[in-house]
Symmetry: C2
Subunit: 336 residues, 2 copies
DNA sequence: GTGAAAGCGCTAACAT
DNA sequence: ATGTTAGCGCTTTCAC
């Protein structure tokens, strides 16, 4: 039923070889023949069957991406943007995207192994990197190409695109200090995540530069969700004296913080300054609009994919490591 | 380099056939042999290479999903939740998920055709259905299984899981009316989308039941984004007299509306009631928390995938059409 | 410039 | 209970 290369060959009284080469753009096939082949193929709606091509070439032209889910769901717009970036670039380069959704842990590992062992993908895009990350060790060992969004200490030279979370948060602290804040709290993420460490480091650095001692009570850890930010902020606001500013490790955390502050009757931006990290679309419509450290997630997705394809296809000259400077966006959640 | 079924066979002095059948669980292979095979396979890290299996069986065990992007990005958490649902169920059933990201239009069509013609997927999950939807006609014609989230009029009997947007919005209108609102505005989505029509119908129905004539000025169309909701709401608020309540066709739209109202100095929930549709996670943390019509997107994703697999595998007894009743969640954006 | 033939790794019909 | 064999659709030597 589906049209194969043999159907095309038969119709033109050519061999499959010639058809294959005409379509692949080899130059040892007569120009007129090539035209006939191309026309016939289009007319017949021929497209190469990937399974056959893959089997023969031992390449899939498919990129794998395993999304971490925290809990049952992942509603962070961060993922959507990132996937859109990776996906757009992939399709521009004629690659497909194989997506799994898996919680960190055993089943995550299963997912990677399955895709690797059954050779379903040519390489992986990694996100939410951990400081100590088995995925890097594993993929290096299996010699499967990969590029990550974010750095890991497991192998510093692993190809990745990172965002300078340290510099970003440091600048944010500077901004908060310039507004007169000294009791600045920081709500981090699980410490296994690299982004957590980087951003916390930015916090410490900023405080140090401002000559403010960090009060350990003002540092806590949450789970990158707005619910988590909300619960954590409630505790922070109970301290006496309470912080005059709170930084969320990402925008969703900050959203929870805003809500907690407002429940106490605080006017965010006036009574307390709150800021996040990511720069998700909706943040600018929150009340008040969120001050945040913006990272171009969609663009990073594209570049990560771009790098990965370059590695898969054995291109030289690629830069293995890129550090992007995020941009502070000041809105009314810190400035009335 | 990678271990094949032949390697396993050779090591055990068996034929590839026996190994294949032992692994596939056929019962015409001796139990002891089966154990030897399974052990050896595990030890050697054998996993079947999918390209070969696919080529032979002419099945991919892969599900395609083409995500609509409006503009360059899609940050609606809706997609993440839906994909998580589809993906979880897919992996439970040993299917993979092939994701493309494409704007509606020509390139969207290319995407489907490419996946179909090169036989990369066994079926499709469809979302954001249009009233007149070429995808349905196309897939029916190509005899490719599919299940959609949402209905289309192109073929009412196409398998899908729908949410009763009409009933949901109707109940919302009832709620708003019970609060004393009579000038209730509705911001819709592009009219090609089924959800747009359904929800608008719910609006009209609710108004009719309450004996309120619909003022055409109070009905507008936006693009499902918060930026769109913001711009549209600004115009609505200029009318004299302005609406006392505004319904956004989805939560993101409603977020923009909230912001527009707040910029006018209105206290949302007191001076004006605002509500949305979807029930995305973050909505409960907005200020004020959003009244919304909740639909269980993650769960629907699972069920859609479940249905699709049943169809692909030729199971009988599946219900082709399901209508889910959404749930009104009342929060402070309508009730102080 | 074109064709014949081999073979990628697997499954399944058909022996034995 | 196990083995032999053919072939899925394609790419790629190699020969002409």
């Amino acid at each position: 039923m589906p049209v194969t290369i043999r159907d095309v060959a038969r119709r033109l009284n050519l061999s499959v070889t010639t058809v294959s080469r005409a379509l692949a753009g080899y130059d040892d096939v007569a120009e007129t023949t090539r035209q006939r082949v191309i026309t016939a193929a289009r007319e017949m709606g021929y497209m190469p069957q990937y399974a056959a091509r893959q089997l023969r070439r031992q390449r899939t032209e498919t990129i794998g991406i395993v999304f971490p889910t925290m809990g049952t769901r992942f509603s962070d717009p961060f993922f959507g943007e990132f996937m859109a970036g990776v996906g757009d670039e992939a399709s521009r380069r004629n690659y497909d995207l194989l997506v799994s959704v898996a919680p960190a842990g055993k089943s995550e590992q299963d997912n990677y192994q399955r895709l690797v062992n059954s050779r379903r993908v040519d390489g992986f895009v990694l996100a939410r990197m951990r400081i100590e990350d088995w995925r890097i060790r594993y993929l290096l060992h299996e010699e499967i190409p990969f590029v990550s969004f974010g750095r890991s200490e497991t192998d510093e030279k692993a190809p990745h695109i990172g965002v300078d979370g340290c510099a970003g948060i440091c600048e944010l602290v500077r901004h908060l200090v310039s507004l007169g804040n000294r009791r600045i709290a920081f709500i981090g993420a699980p410490p296994v995540l690299t982004l957590s460490r980087d951003r916390e480091e930015g916090y410490r650095k900023g405080m140090r530069e401002a000559g403010i001692d960090v009060d350990p009570d003002l540092m806590s850890v949450s789970d990158l969700t707005s619910a988590g930010g909300y619960e954590t902020a409630k505790k922070l606001l109970d301290y006496d004296p309470p912080p005059t500013a709170i930084i969320g490790v990402n925008d969703l955390t900050a959203l929870g913080v805003i809500r907690a502050a407002q429940e106490r009757g605080l006017s965010v931006g006036e009574d307390i300054a709150i800021a996040g990290f990511d720069g998700i679309e909706t943040g600018k419509h929150w009340h008040p609009p969120l001050t945040t450290v913006y990272q171009p997630v969609y663009e990073i997705g594209r570049r990560v994919c771009d790098m990965l394809v370059a590695i898969i296809e054995g291109k030289e000259t690629i830069q293995i490591e890129t550090l992007i400077q995020p941009k502070l966006i000041i809105r009314q959640s810190t400035v009335p």
